[in-house]
């Protein structure tokens, strides 16, 4: 069964350190929120049809 994951974000090269960290924050915030949203739906009795995964 294919896990449900957030849409893939393409790896990108950065030459500016602050911009690189900005991207880390975007990925981290989006992916952890994805998990939290699905866990909360699940905890309140929502049916999940697939495994949930984010990186």
């Amino acid at each position: 069964m294919t896990p449900e994951t957030p849409p893939a974000i393409a790896t990108e090269a950065f030459t500016d350190a602050a911009a690189a960290v900005g991207r880390l924050e975007e990925i981290y915030e989006r992916n952890t929120k994805f998990l939290r949203d699905r866990f909360e739906a699940y905890a309140h009795g929502g049916a999940l049809t697939a495994r949930v995964r984010a990186f």
Binding site: A8, F14, A20, V21, L24, Y28, N31, R51, F55
Partner: protein, 436 residues
């Protein structure tokens, strides 16, 4: 996070971090970029500057455990609508990724990892899951969130130091001293500087955590954290296993010890130049054949701070402070355990004995965090002066205040140094990771 280089970088040989050991692909997974923003920005900047190549940012192939999608521990099981624990855990694991202990070991730091050919080399000592694990442990043990931890850390084994630190910090904040923002204690109770409007937020916990932490917060985390780790090498190893993921610039043990020489007096200071590791909490990770060296930058800062606070210099300083080997043991009742340990202590030329310093120094060495130890003699069991309740409490209070002041002054001196200098090269192994 990934960096790919095709040549060896020609670098300033004084550097200890900020570059990869050789050509190839180096990568790591990271977590909490909000918490580590300054640290990551600096590490990435150094990689780009030192190698002239970009740094790639993308999603890793390491699933985020559901527990770590939350910033604090939450009781996931209790959040679910069924009360049957076995059903809950099965369902949880069927749907979400849960922490994988195999992804959290310290093989990189310990130099025991083995990479299959063609696998990227590590870029940092700790991968994301290991960091996430420790961030939660830090809150659990210290009662404060990782956001409040500062880059200069004092460990102590005595409540008097906590009281003295809290009092000194509150006075400095009430006076609106520049460069300080707040004081934070267990429960994340925060008292702001009078310069920033003052006031206190938060509620102290009903029960103190096991190793309460107190933070004198300064911009860019350059303030001071003090943690009362209690007694014993197990605590010392435990807390340093977790504080290490925050990559502090220095940690210092300030505590009480037994003086082993007849010429020492109660209240004298001991600056550790070496350690007799009889605590056995890190023997597997850092075999006893590995010396834990004294770090010149730390030793000099501590000795100068003792001189500054006591007004003694040169040969006179030797009246109050002695440098030498500190023995750390795992048996608090060592003095009634027969002649063998006394003989070993004499063979080692140890001048003082405690239960925490060696573990803190050894774990600093292991995790490449600069370490130092300044102890105060509180008893001399080999010479008839044993520790008794209520003994000389006024004397102790005075000494504790001075001892703490020395520790704080030493850290102020370390703050003035370049961090490339403080993070000594002698802490780094042959094929070292790039991150500080």
């Amino acid at each position: 996070m990934r960096v790919t280089t095709s040549t060896y970088a020609r670098l300033d040989s004084r550097l200890s971090y900020g570059f990869v050991a050789g050509p190839g692909v180096h990568e790591t997974s990271v977590t909490r970029p909000d918490l580590f923003r300054n640290y990551f920005t600096e590490q990435i900047r150094l990689l780009i500057e030192n190698h002239g190549v970009p740094v790639e940012i993308g999603e890793s192939n390491e699933p985020i455990p559901i527990h770590f999608a939350y910033r604090r521990d939450i009781n996931l099981e209790a959040s679910l609508s069924t009360n049957d624990d076995s059903v809950v855990m099965r369902l949880l694991r069927d749907v979400f990724d849960t922490p994988d202990l195999a992804a959290m070991d310290d093989a990189i730091a310990d130099g025991t990892f083995e990479l299959p050919p063609g696998t990227p080399e590590p870029l940092a000592l700790f991968r994301a899951a290991r960091v996430d694990y420790s961030l939660r442990r830090l809150y659990h043990y210290t009662g404060t969130d990782p956001e409040h931890f500062q880059n200069f850390v004092i460990f102590t084994n005595y409540q008097f130091y906590v009281d003295a630190f809290a009092q000194a910090c509150r006075q400095r904040l009430a006076s609106g001293e520049g460069g300080l923002e707040a004081f934070v204690g267990p429960g994340n109770v925060m008292t702001r500087s009078a310069r920033l409007g003052g006031g206190t937020d938060g509620t102290a916990p009903e029960r103190m955590p096991q190793m309460p932490a107190f933070h004198l917060v300064a911009p860019r985390d350059r303030g001071i954290t003090l943690i009362n780790i209690g007694t014993g090498p197990s605590n010392a190893r435990n807390i340093t296993d977790h504080v290490a993921v925050l990559r502090p610039h220095a940690w210092l043990m300030l505590g009480h010890c037994a003086g082993l020489r007849n010429s020492q007096r109660l209240g004298d200071y001991v600056l550790a130049h070496g350690y007799l590791r009889e605590d056995h909490v890190l023997d597997r990770e850092l075999p006893l054949l590995v010396p834990v060296p004294a770090l010149a930058e730390m030793q000099v800062a501590l000795e100068q701070a003792v001189g500054e606070v006591t007004g003694l210099t040169g040969f006179e300083l030797k009246r109050l402070m002695r440098t030498g080997t500190v023995a750390s043991v795992d048996n608090r009742n060592w003095e009634i355990s027969g002649p063998e340990i006394i003989r070993r202590l004499s063979q080692s030329r140890a001048i003082a004995l405690d239960m925490e310093s060696a573990a803190i120094a050894a774990n600093g060495y292991r995790f490449r965090v600069p370490y130092g130890t300044l102890l105060c003699v509180s008893d001399k069991p080999l010479h008839g002066e044993i520790k008794l309740a209520g003994m000389a409490s006024e004397f102790y209070r005075q000494r504790v205040g001075q001892h703490l002041e020395i520790g704080l002054k030493a850290l102020e001196r370390l703050k003035l140094q370049e961090s490339e200098r403080l993070h000594s090269r002698k802490l780094r192994s042959f094929a070292e990771v790039a991150f500080q």
